[in-house]
């Protein structure tokens, strides 16, 4: 009886997971096979799940008709810069909040956390006015990057992570004549690698996929990121669905490669601290 219930539960779990996986995977699959189809075929309401035609023509059209290479490079540049700045500043701030004693430590941290309660839409317009009208940064990399140099969410993540590192190591390093920045650079950062990897992956993926802000602050074709570029592609005369799917595949591929190659770190990052070393 017991084993029967167990089996039943197992089967139910597998079925639910299968359905969930299908729901998640089918749009990606559709995008992928659509990118090799004739435009009409890839836009049909009920697409064929097993394609008859494999053509790289949509890819050719995508790269020919648009500034796709430039968009990809823009995205790569913006995401890389944001990843580096977020990893650096969030880990510095997280370390300070977690391990250093200074007046107002708690207060500043709670104020920062409080800003996470404010929806992004609320600050969007003031931010826009600040960046475009006050600083006059419209249509520049600075405009895309500056507001995201470090996010509170990342500081919070790093603070939680740094709190789990043993304080005695910091004390040992201090007695070992290590400078305060040296402690951060030589002791804390190497130990925080799994946490930093998670932060880097999340930041890179988020900035790569970000649409709205780059869309707001860029106007020229050559300043667009890949996501903004893809969207503008939709609005062009008649949408070339084949080429659009090809573009979407090109945009999604680096993220998948990144995620799967760093998956080890990712898993390590979310389970660390739960297991006693």
């Amino acid at each position: 009886m017991k084993t029967k219930t167990k089996w039943l539960l197992f089967i139910v779990a597998v079925v639910i997971l299968l359905i969930w996986t299908l729901i998640t995977v089918i749009p990606l699959y559709w995008m992928f096979i659509g990118s090799f189809q004739d435009t009409k075929l890839s836009a049909t309401f009920r697409p064929k799940m097993i394609p008859e035609l494999w053509s790289i023509a949509p890819y050719e059209r995508f790269f020919e008709k648009t500034a796709a290479i430039r968009w990809l490079l823009n995205s790569l540049f913006v995401s890389s810069v944001l990843t580096v700045t977020n990893v650096f500043f969030a880990s510095l701030a997280g370390y300070a909040f977690a391990k250093l004693k200074f007046p107002g430590n708690k207060t500043v941290f709670w104020v920062l956390l409080g800003t996470m309660m404010i929806p992004a839409q609320v600050t969007l317009i003031p931010l826009y006015i600040l960046v475009i009208n006050v600083f006059n940064l419209g249509d520049t990399y600075t405009a895309i990057i500056l507001p995201g140099v470090v996010s509170v969410g990342n500081i919070f993540l790093m603070k939680q992570y740094m709190s789990s590192l043993p304080t005695s190591l910091i004390h040992a390093a201090r007695i070992d004549a290590c400078s305060e920045f040296g402690i951060f650079w030589k002791i804390i950062l190497p130990m925080a690698k799994p946490g930093l990897a998670v932060l880097a992956i999340f930041t890179f993926v988020t900035s790569w996929n970000d649409f709205f802000w780059p869309f707001l602050v860029t106007s020229s074709t050559e300043m667009r990121t890949i996501q903004v570029g893809l969207a503008s592609f939709v609005f062009a005369e008649a949408t070339d669905f084949g080429a659009l799917m090809a573009g979407a595949t090109v945009a999604a591929l680096p993220m998948m490669v990144l995620f799967f190659s760093l998956q080890r770190y990712f898993l390590q990052g979310i389970t660390i601290g739960a297991v006693k070393g």
């Binding site: 043993p166 005695s168 190591l169 004390h171 040992a172 390093a173 201090r174 007695i175 070992d176 004549a177 290590c178 400078s179 040296g182 002791i187 190497p190 130990m191 070393g277």
Partner: protein, 368 residues
Amino acid sequence: MARVEFRNVRKQFDDEKKGIFTAVEGSNFVINDREFVVFVGPSGCGKTTSLRMIAGLEKQTSGDIIIGDRIVNDLHPKDRDIAMVFQDYALYPHMTIRENLSFGLRNLKKPKTYIEEKVREAAAVLGLEEMLDRKPRELSGGQRQRVAVGRAIVRDPQVFLFDEPLSNLDAKLRVQMRVELADLHKRLGATIVYVTHDQVEAMTLGERIVVMNQGVIQQIASPAELYANPQNMFVAGFIGSPPMNFIDARVLGNSVFVEGTEFALQDTIADGLRAYQGREVILGIRPEHIFGEDVVSSVSGNYRLTKQIKAVEHLGSENLIYFPIGNRTVTAKVHPETVAYPGLSKTFVLDFSKVHFFDPETQQRIEY
């Protein structure tokens, strides 16, 4: 090497949960050059805070700390010429043992050949030569402990600070490391301040022991002195295992009465207790100073008490017998051949030359 001195050192913490509380209260002591001093006490007694104030990891609220000839109140840990061994070893996990050992010297920008020489020396002293290129996680607990000690040795500090260094080791290894540490102290001829909550460690390692409780130093003395002449009930109860028994007694004339049984006192003791005439006192006697009547003959005087045994523990080399006096349970540590089993009504002999009397209010030992 150097001496360490505390002058009226006080430390207050502003804790979220406890509010403002005093961890160390008006602490005064001198640790002599090359002395091995142990801070001992229950958790929260201020021993680790005191150690961390010597290290400079915590700043005292008031008072002066002197290392060598310098007041070090405002000096950074690195400038105090101390080295510390932590409870959890605090080895840098991403560095090899060699890098761990040399980290401090590299930060001090010492010449490369000097660093290599120092690391080699320390590794030889501690038997770590084979492990220099391994990472801490590849080492056993005992080996990590040695690396932590090695990291202190390479610095040639004036003062070594040990913060409960053996508490993460298993019992057998702890005994072994204890012997090694004592040996190390002899070889290095260093000033060592050692913190532990384990009174056995304190008694075996310390040349002098500082007993602390609730931020206040209770007594500073050699192990033998602490054992023989504890200044108050806390020290008496903390030092010695099993702890000293405390029995309610009443002074009347030249005797004390325990549950109606009269024990005649020697004149000197009776004189000392004169001020307590007709009042309650606490009689303190160590378990090893209570004997079974059938085994002992050397204790003179009529200090006998017949009681029903509550429980017996056989430890091989000795037996522990538990029996009630008033509402307290008294422990006797007796020869293993003493006849004892629960329920047996047995006569015990108390060695009154070793008893102490304490004031029930101040808990201080009554001097005589």
